[in-house]
C-alpha cells in the first residue's frame, strides 16, 4: 500500500471579491490539520483556478466568497472542469453563504458548502472525506 500523502487543497477567490478574512482563517485551519494549502489569492477566474488545480495536482478546489460573484462563476468553473477532464471536488465557503445558498450550489455540483457558522472540525472532516475518495489522507 502506497504511503499516505497529505491532502492538497487549492484555495482561491474569484473576480473582484477581495475580502480575505475567511480564506486566511480556513487556510490556517487546514494547515493546522496537516493539509497542504495552495493559496491562489484574489482576482482568480475559472481559467486560472482550473489551470492551477491541474498544475498543482490539487485534491480539492476551495473557493472563498464574500460577494455574490461565485453564483455566476460556478457554472463556468464546472463547464471548464468537464472540458479539461478534471474530476476534482469543489467546496465553497463564505461569510455570505446561507443554508439556502448552500443547498443551491450543491444542486449545481458543489461537494460541500460552508457558511460563517460552520464548525471548523466539520470543515476538516468533510474535506478529508472528499480527499480520501481520491487517495489522499
Amino acid at each position: 500500500m502506497a504511503a499516505e500523502r497529505p491532502i492538497r487543497i487549492l484555495l482561491a477567490i474569484l473576480g473582484m471579491d477581495q475580502h480575505e478574512a475567511g480564506a486566511f482563517a480556513v487556510a490556517r485551519l487546514l494547515r493546522d490539520a496537516g493539509m497542504e494549502v495552495i493559496y491562489l489569492g484574489r482576482f482568480g477566474t475559472p481559467e486560472t483556478v482550473v489551470d492551477a488545480a491541474l498544475e498543482e495536482g490539487a485534491d480539492i478546489i476551495g473557493l472563498s466568497c464574500h460577494s455574490w460573484e461565485y453564483r455566476y462563476y460556478l457554472d463556468e468553473l464546472f463547464a471548464l472542469l468537464k472540458r479539461r477532464n478534471l474530476d476534482v471536488p469543489v467546496v465553497v465557503g463564505g461569510s455570505i453563504l446561507s443554508q439556502d445558498d448552500r443547498n443551491e450550489i450543491q444542486r449545481k455540483g458543489v461537494a460541500a458548502g460552508f457558511g460563517p457558522d460552520a464548525d471548523p472540525d466539520e470543515i476538516v472532516r468533510r474535506i478529508r472525506t472528499l480527499a480520501k475518495a481520491r487517495g489522499a489522507a
Partner: protein, 554 residues
C-alpha cells in the same frame, strides 16, 4: 486540540470575555478614584481636567450639543447604477438623513471600470458603479448639494474631489460651499479589503494632492478623512485601529508641512472615521482618547496654533464584523447599543450598519431601521443632550487613559520600525491584518468573543426565519451598465481622450504638480477612473492594468 465552537452552556463563553476589554485591557471588578491617575501615561502632569470644547478635547469637540443637531445622521448607501443610487439618496433624505455616504461596488473601489473583464459579475451589486464625471452628475442629480454633507467611501479621494469640483462649476455654485469628505488610507489600502494596485508613492501623492487642492478650492470639505473603520473591520482591535490611524495621519501631516504648507491651513479639516464594535465602554474610551491624542499631537508636536486644528472631527460607522447572519434581528439590537456608545462618546456623524449587512449591501427597509435607531437614541433616549455624559466616571476615565497609553505605545513601536513607506512595503501591515483575521476567527471558535446566535444561544437554522427571507434577497449585477460604458467609450471624442491620457501619464511621471486638476480635466474629457488610474500607473513605470486584462484606450 481545537475547542468546540458551539456552546451548549453559554455561561462558559460569557465568563471568558468578562475579564478583559476587546483590546485586551484587564478589567477590575469596580473602579475608584484611585484608578484615575493625576499623571499621563508618560508620567507628565496632566492639565487640569478640561471641559467639553476645551483643549485637549477629551470631553468633546463642542461645549454644548444641540439635541437636533448633535450628530449628522447618515447611512452608507449605493447600489446599481448612479441613477438608482440617486433614488436611494432621496429615500434616505426623505426619512430624515442629513448626510449621504456613498460606497462603490468592488470594481469602483478598485479603480477598475465596469467593462474590465474581471468585473463582469461585480457591477453594482456591492455598491454603486461609478467611473465617469457623468456618473457623479447622475448620482447627485437634483440634490441640494450645498445643504447636504457628502461623504465618499470611494478611495482614492482625488476622483470624487475632482468630480465634485467640476459639478459645482457646471451647476454654477462656488465649490467652496461643498461639505463632505473622502476617505484616505494611502498606507494600508493595498493590504486590506479592496486594492487599487498603485505603488505607495503614487497613493500617497494622490492623498497629499487631494488635501492640498481641497484646502484651497473646497475649504469646508474634509479631504483628509482618515478611515480607520476601513482598515480595522477585518479584526483589528481598538488600540491597533487608532495606532495605525495615527501613524498615517502623522506621516501625512509631516509630509504636507514638508511641502511648505502651514499646518493650520489643512489641520482644521482633518477628520477620523472610526469603527464602533460591541464593547461599549471601550469604544467610548477609544474616542475620548483619540480626541486627546490628536489635540496634543497637533498643538505640541506639529505646532498648530488655530484651536480648530486641535479638535478633531470624529465620525463613526458601526462594525459590520459585529453583525451575524444567524438571527439577523439581533443585529438591530447591536446597532442600538453601538449607536448609544457613539452618542455617549460624542461624535460628529454616525452610520449604523444595517441588520442585513452580513448578507448584502443595505436594503431600503434595513436603511430605515438604522436611521430610526439613530433617531430613537437621539430623540427618545436623549443620549446627545449633554456633552460627555460619562466624563468623570472612574471606569471610563481610567479606560480612556489606558487606551491613550496603549495607542501611543503602538504608534511609537510602528514608527521605530522605519519610515511608513518601508514598513508598508515590508508587508508588516499585511501581516498584522492577516493575523488579526485569524485571531478573530479563533476568538469566535473558542468562545472568547461571544456573538449571540452564532456561538451562544444558537437555534437550528430551520427555525431561524425572522428577517431571513428579507436579508437573503439578492441583487443581480448590472450587466447592462457594462454595455453602456462600452458604448460610451466607443462614442466619445477619441482625440480628446488621447490628449488627456497622455497628459495624465506625464503628470504621473512628473515629480511635482498637483494631480487633481489634470484628473478633473480628464474626467471632463470623458476619460474614466479606470483609464486615468492606468495612465497614472504607466506614468510611474507600472503596467496599465495590473490584472493583465484591460487595454488602454490608446
Amino acid at each position: 486540540m481545537p475547542t468546540k465552537r458551539s456552546c451548549a452552556r453559554p455561561r462558559r463563553c460569557l465568563h471568558m470575555s468578562e475579564r478583559e476589554t476587546q483590546s485586551g485591557i484587564p478589567l477590575k471588578p469596580f473602579y475608584t478614584a484611585a484608578d484615575v491617575a493625576s499623571t499621563d501615561g508618560d508620567g507628565s502632569a496632566r492639565e487640569p481636567r478640561a471641559e467639553p470644547g476645551e483643549y485637549p478635547f477629551t470631553r468633546g469637540r463642542l461645549a454644548s450639543p444641540r439635541t437636533r443637531d448633535s450628530w449628522i445622521q447618515q447611512e452608507l448607501s449605493g447600489e446599481g447604477t448612479p441613477r438608482r443610487s440617486n433614488e436611494q439618496f432621496r429615500e434616505l433624505i426623505d426619512k430624515g438623513a442629513r448626510g449621504l455616504d456613498v460606497i462603490g461596488d468592488a470594481p469602483t473601489m478598485s479603480s477598475m471600470d465596469p467593462d474590465h473583464p474581471l468585473a463582469r459579475h461585480a457591477v453594482g451589486n456591492t455598491g454603486v458603479s461609478i467611473c465617469r464625471l457623468k456618473d457623479f452628475e447622475d448620482l447627485y442629480a437634483g440634490l441640494p448639494l450645498t445643504e447636504l454633507t457628502l461623504s465618499h467611501s470611494l478611495p482614492p479621494g482625488a476622483f470624487a474631489i475632482a468630480a465634485l469640483h467640476r459639478i459645482a462649476l457646471r451647476r454654477g455654485f462656488d465649490p467652496k460651499a461643498l461639505r463632505g469628505s473622502t476617505i484616505l488610507l494611502p498606507a494600508y489600502c493595498e493590504d486590506c479589503s479592496y486594492r487599487i494596485h498603485m505603488p505607495y508613492d503614487l497613493r500617497m501623492r494622490l492623498a497629499l494632492d487631494s488635501i492640498e487642492f481641497a484646502a484651497a478650492e473646497m475649504p469646508r470639505f474634509h479631504a483628509f478623512l482618515e478611515d480607520t473603520y476601513y482598515i480595522s473591520d477585518g479584526g483589528l482591535n481598538g488600540v491597533e485601529e487608532m495606532a495605525l490611524g495615527f501613524v498615517e495621519i502623522r506621516e501625512i501631516v509631516r509630509t504636507l508641512i514638508g511641502r511648505g504648507l502651514d499646518v493650520d491651513s489643512f489641520a482644521p479639516r482633518i477628520a477620523i472615521l472610526v469603527n464602533c464594535r460591541m464593547d461599549l465602554f471601550e469604544e467610548v474610551a477609544k474616542i475620548r482618547a483619540t480626541r486627546r491624542i490628536f489635540a496634543r499631537m497637533m498643538r505640541e508636536e506639529f505646532g498648530a496654533k488655530d484651536p480648530r486644528s486641535w479638535s478633531c472631527a470624529i465620525t463613526a460607522h458601526t462594525s459590520g464584523l459585529s453583525l451575524t447572519m444567524a438571527q439577523p434581528a439581533n443585529n438591530i439590537a447591536r446597532g442600538a447599543v453601538q449607536g448609544l456608545a457613539l452618542a455617549l462618546a460624542g461624535v460628529q456623524a454616525v452610520e449604523i450598519s444595517c441588520f442585513d449587512e452580513a448578507y448584502r449591501t443595505p436594503s431600503h427597509d434595513s436603511h430605515m431601521v438604522s436611521l430610526r435607531t439613530q433617531q430613537i437614541v437621539q430623540l427618545e433616549a436623549g443620549a446627545g443632550r449633554v456633552a460627555d455624559p460619562l466624563g468623570g466616571s472612574y471606569f471610563v476615565e481610567s479606560l480612556t487613559d489606558e487606551m491613550e497609553r496603549r495607542i501611543l505605545e503602538m504608534v511609537t513601536e510602528i514608527e521605530s520600525l522605519g519610515t511608513l513607506k518601508e514598513v508598508s512595503e515590508s508587508g508588516w501591515f499585511r501581516n498584522l491584518f492577516q493575523n488579526a483575521m485569524t485571531r478573530r476567527a479563533r476568538a469566535i471558535q473558542d468562545g472568547s468573543e461571544v456573538q449571540i446566535g452564532l456561538n451562544a444561544f444558537e437555534i437550528p437554522e430551520e427555525q431561524d426565519r425572522l428577517l431571513r427571507d428579507h436579508s437573503e434577497s439578492k441583487l443581480e449585477p448590472c450587466w447592462d451598465r457594462i454595455d453602456e460604458i462600452r458604448r460610451f467609450k466607443n462614442e466619445r471624442d477619441g482625440a480628446a481622450v488621447a490628449e488627456h491620457f497622455a497628459r495624465i501619464r506625464e503628470a504621473g511621471a512628473a515629480t511635482s504638480g498637483n494631480l487633481v486638476e489634470p484628473i478633473a480635466d480628464a474626467l471632463e474629457a470623458d476619460l474614466t477612473q479606470g483609464e486615468i488610474s492606468g495612465a497614472l500607473r504607466l506614468g510611474v513605470g507600472e503596467v496599465y492594468d495590473p490584472l493583465g486584462r484591460a487595454e488602454p484606450p490608446i
